[in-house]
C-alpha cells in the first residue's frame, strides 16, 4: 500500500480523497494556487505545496510543478480527482516516467476513450450499441445527404474532436444540412484545430443513464449499477439518482454487460463510467466513457455501501477486486443535488463573494461533500460547485423527502446559489413521477423565477431587528462589495 499520496485537485473532491487516504493510514499532500492558500482542502492536509498563480494553467494544470512536488515530497502516487488532469494521458505518462503511480487507468485507455470517433469504432467492434451514425464525414455533400436521409431527420452534426457543445448542430431538414456542416467545420477548426465532422441520429428526449465500472490489474471487470443523470442545464448535471426509475432488472443486466464490454475493449483499470442515452422504448446507445471518478460517485457509494475512492487507491496499489465488489448488491435509493455558486437572478452566471453564514444539513440518510468554511471567499477562478448534498432512503419516495428536508436545512448566506432552483425541480410532479429526460428543465422550468413567492413577515421582522441590534446605519461604510474591515466584523460579533 502507498505511504503518501498527492491529491492533484482542490475543493470538495480533494477533501473527499484525503478522507479515504486518512482512513487507510496514508499521509496526504495538498497542492494549491495563490488564490487557494486558505482553502479548506489545504488546511486539512498533512503537507501542502504552492503550485503557482491562480490560473489553472499555472497551478492545477501545471504538469511539471506537480511532478516536482510529488517527487520532492516523496509521494508514491497521485490522485487526480475529477476535472483538471484526471483525463490527461500526457500527465498520466509523466507520472509513470517519474516513478509515481497515477491513480487511474492507463494513458492508452484515456486516449482511446478521449477521441469520439476512435471510441465509437472500438465500441462497434466490442458489440456495444452506438448511436446510428457515419464515419468521419469529409468531402462531397451528396453522400452525406444520402447518409442523413438514411439515418432519418433530425440528425446531429458533430465534431470528431468536439466537446462542450462546440461544433455541434441539430439538423431538422435536408435543406439545413449544407449550412450546418459549414458552420460546424468552422467552429471545430477554430476550437479544436480539427474540422473533422460526422453525423449521428438525433435522439429526442432521451434519458442520460451511466454505469459505474471497476476493474483491477488482473483485468477482472465489474459494473456497480447505474446512475440516472438526466436533469441537466446547459449540459451540466445538477440532480442525479441511483437506481434509475426507468431500468428494469433485465435492462440493468443488459446495460451493465455493455458497460463491462466497453471497459474491457480498452483494457480499463480502476474506476470508470460508461455513459449511455436511453430512449423511451428501452433502447440504449453508448455516448462516451469517462476515464476517472465522477462528481456523482457518492450515490453509487450509498446504494452499494462501497467506498469507491478507497477502492481506487487499493486497486492502483495492486490489490484485486474484493468479493464485496464482485458481488455488490443494489440496496435502497440515493440522490445527489449539486449546489452551485450561481446567480439565478442573472441568468445563472457563476457567482462569487464572501460566505457570511453557513449551516450544513445533517441527520439520518444525509451526506454533504463540500469544502466550505464561514467567512471564506468563493473566488471566480474555478468551478462554481459549492457542495453536493446526497441523501439515502429505503426507496425513492423516502430518499426524495430526505433531499427536500436537507435542502431546506442548508443555509448559505452571502453568495447566490441554485438551492431554490433545486427545490423547484424536486417539487415538480414530473420529477416526483420519475419522468426524467435531458430536456426536463427546458420543458418544465423554462419560466422559473428566483424571486417567486413572498418573504414571510417574520423574516422581514428579523431583517429590521438585526439592523436594530447590530446598530449601524443601513448601508454602513461597506459599499460596492468591499469586504468589511476587521473592526467592523468585531463590532458585529460583540453587539
Amino acid at each position: 500500500m502507498f505511504r503518501k499520496v498527492l491529491v492533484a485537485n482542490r475543493g470538495e473532491i480533494a477533501i473527499r480523497v484525503q478522507r479515504a487516504l486518512r482512513e487507510l493510514g496514508i499521509r496526504t499532500v495538498a497542492v494549491y494556487s495563490e488564490a487557494d492558500a486558505r482553502a479548506p482542502h489545504v488546511s486539512e492536509a498533512d503537507e501542502a505545496y504552492l503550485l503557482g498563480a491562480p490560473e489553472p494553467a499555472a497551478s492545477y494544470l501545471n504538469h511539471s510543478r506537480l511532478i516536482d512536488v510529488a517527487r520532492e515530497s516523496g509521494c508514491d502516487a497521485v490522485h487526480p480527482g475529477y476535472g483538471f488532469l484526471s483525463e490527461n494521458a500526457a500527465f498520466a505518462r509523466r507520472c509513470a516516467e517519474a516513478g509515481v503511480v497515477f491513480i487511474g487507468p492507463s494513458p492508452q485507455a484515456i486516449e482511446d476513450m478521449g477521441s469520439k470517433l476512435r471510441a465509437r469504432a472500438l465500441m462497434v467492434q466490442a458489440g456495444v450499441p452506438v448511436v446510428p451514425g457515419t464515419e468521419a464525414a469529409a468531402g462531397a455533400l451528396g453522400p452525406l445527404e444520402r447518409a442523413a436521409r438514411k439515418l432519418g431527420y433530425p440528425v446531429l452534426v458533430k465534431a470528431a474532436a468536439g466537446g462542450g457543445g462546440k461544433g455541434m448542430r441539430i439538423v431538422n431538414a435536408p435543406a439545413e444540412l449544407e449550412r450546418a456542416l459549414a458552420l460546424c467545420r468552422g467552429e471545430a477548426e477554430k476550437a479544436f484545430g480539427d474540422g473533422t465532422l460526422y453525423l449521428e441520429k438525433y435522439l429526442e428526449r432521451p434519458r442520460h443513464v451511466e454505469l459505474q465500472v471497476f476493474a483491477d490489474e488482473a483485468g477482472d471487470t465489474v459494473h456497480l449499477f447505474e446512475r440516472e443523470c438526466s436533469i441537466q442545464r446547459r449540459h451540466q448535471k445538477i440532480v442525479e439518482e441511483a437506481p434509475s426509475p426507468a431500468l428494469s432488472p433485465a435492462l440493468r443486466e443488459r446495460m451493465g454487460a455493455a458497460a463491462v464490454a466497453a471497459a474491457r475493449a480498452v483494457g480499463y483499470r480502476g474506476a470508470g463510467t460508461v455513459e449511455f442515452m436511453l430512449d423511451a422504448t428501452g433502447t440504449f446507445y453508448f455516448l462516451e466513457m469517462n476515464t476517472r471518478l465522477q462528481v456523482e460517485h457518492p450515490i453509487t457509494e450509498m446504494v452499494t455501501g462501497l467506498d469507491l475512492v478507497r477502492l481506487q487507491i487499493e486497486v492502483a496499489s495492486g490489490a484485486r477486486l474484493p468479493d464485496g465488489v464482485r458481488h455488490a448488491q443494489l440496496r435502497g435509493h440515493a440522490m445527489e443535488c449539486r449546489v452551485y455558486a450561481e446567480d439565478p437572478e442573472h441568468g445563472f452566471l457563476p457567482a462569487s463573494g464572501r460566505l457570511l453564514r453557513l449551516r450544513v444539513p445533517s441527520g439520518p440518510g444525509v451526506r454533504v461533500d463540500a469544502a466550505l468554511r464561514e467567512d471564506m471567499d468563493v473566488s471566480i477562478h474555478y468551478d462554481p460547485l459549492l457542495a453536493k448534498v446526497v441523501t439515502y432512503g429505503h426507496d425513492r419516495a423516502e430518499c426524495l423527502q430526505r433531499m427536500r428536508r436537507a435542502l431546506a436545512e442548508f443555509v448559505i448566506l452571502g453568495i447566490p446559489t441554485n438551492l431554490a432552483f433545486l427545490q423547484s425541480i424536486l417539487a415538480h410532479d414530473a420529477f416526483v413521477r420519475g419522468e426524467l429526460t435531458t430536456h426536463f428543465i427546458a420543458e418544465h422550468l423554462q419560466d422559473w423565477r428566483a424571486d417567486a413567492g413572498t418573504v414571510h413577515d417574520a423574516g422581514l421582522a428579523a431583517l429590521l431587528l438585526h439592523d436594530l441590534v447590530v446598530g449601524k446605519p443601513a448601508t454602513a461604510a461597506v459599499d460596492g462589495g468591499m469586504p468589511p474591515s476587521p473592526w467592523e466584523s468585531l463590532r458585529d460579533w460583540r453587539s
Binding site: A341, D343, E345, H346, L349, P350, S352, G353, R354, L356, R357, R359, I380, H381, Y382, D383, P384, A408, E409, V411, I412, L413, G414, P416, T417, L419, A420, Q423, A450, D451, G453, V455, H456, D457, A458, G459, L460, A461, A462, L463, L464, L465, H466, D467, L468, V469, V470, A474, T475, A476, V478, D479, G480, G481, M482, P483, P484, D492, W493, S495
Partner: protein, 163 residues
C-alpha cells in the same frame, strides 16, 4: 425604523418599532406583533402566538441575506443602490464580479451597437461586454488584468461626435 428593500423586481416597504422583546412590524399587508429572541449573532427566533420562525440573517453593505422556512432570500436596502443609480445610460457595467481579460477600445474610438468592447472572465466562463448603442468611447475605467466587482463601470460611452 423604516426600510425599503428591493427583491428582484419587488419593492418591500416595512417599518418596525421595538419595545423590549416585542417587535411591531408594519407592512403593506398590515400590522403584526412578534416576540423575539437572539439565539446567536444573526440568528433569531420570532414568535407570533405559539407559531415560531427561526431566521438567519447576514448583511454586507446594502445587501441583506435571510434564511427562513427553508428558503434563502436576497434583498438590497434601497437607499444603498448608489452603485447602480450612478450608472448612466452610456455606462457599460460588469454583469458579475470577475477579471477583465482584455479591453478592445480606447477613448475617442467610435463604436457601433453590439460591438464587443471588453472581455471578462469569471469561473472559466468568458463574457463579451458589448456596446449598448452607437457612440464614442468617452472613458475606459477598467484595466486589463484587473479584478472588478459586479456592477463596476468598465467603459463610459459618449454621444456620437461628443465624447
Amino acid at each position: 425604523m423604516e426600510r425599503i428593500f428591493q427583491r428582484g423586481e419587488e419593492k418591500i416597504e416595512v417599518r418596525a418599532t421595538r419595545d423590549g422583546q416585542a417587535l411591531r412590524l408594519e407592512t403593506t399587508r398590515g400590522v403584526v406583533e412578534f416576540l423575539w429572541d437572539e439565539l446567536a449573532p444573526g440568528d433569531y427566533l420570532l414568535r407570533h402566538g405559539a407559531a415560531q420562525h427561526r431566521c438567519l440573517v447576514a448583511r454586507l453593505g446594502a445587501e441583506r441575506w435571510l434564511w427562513i422556512d427553508g428558503r434563502v432570500h436576497h434583498l438590497q436596502v434601497k437607499e444603498a443602490g448608489r452603485r447602480h443609480d450612478d450608472a448612466h445610460a452610456g455606462d457599460l457595467q460588469a454583469p458579475m464580479p470577475g477579471q477583465v481579460l482584455a479591453i478592445h477600445v480606447v477613448p475617442g474610438e467610435r463604436v457601433t451597437r453590439n460591438q464587443p468592447l471588453v472581455l471578462m472572465e469569471a469561473m472559466k466562463m468568458q463574457v463579451e461586454i458589448v456596446a449598448t448603442r452607437d457612440g464614442v468611447v468617452a472613458e475606459v475605467k477598467a484595466r486589463a488584468g484587473e479584478q472588478v466587482p459586479g456592477g463596476a463601470i468598465l467603459v463610459v460611452l459618449g454621444e456620437d461626435g461628443a465624447p
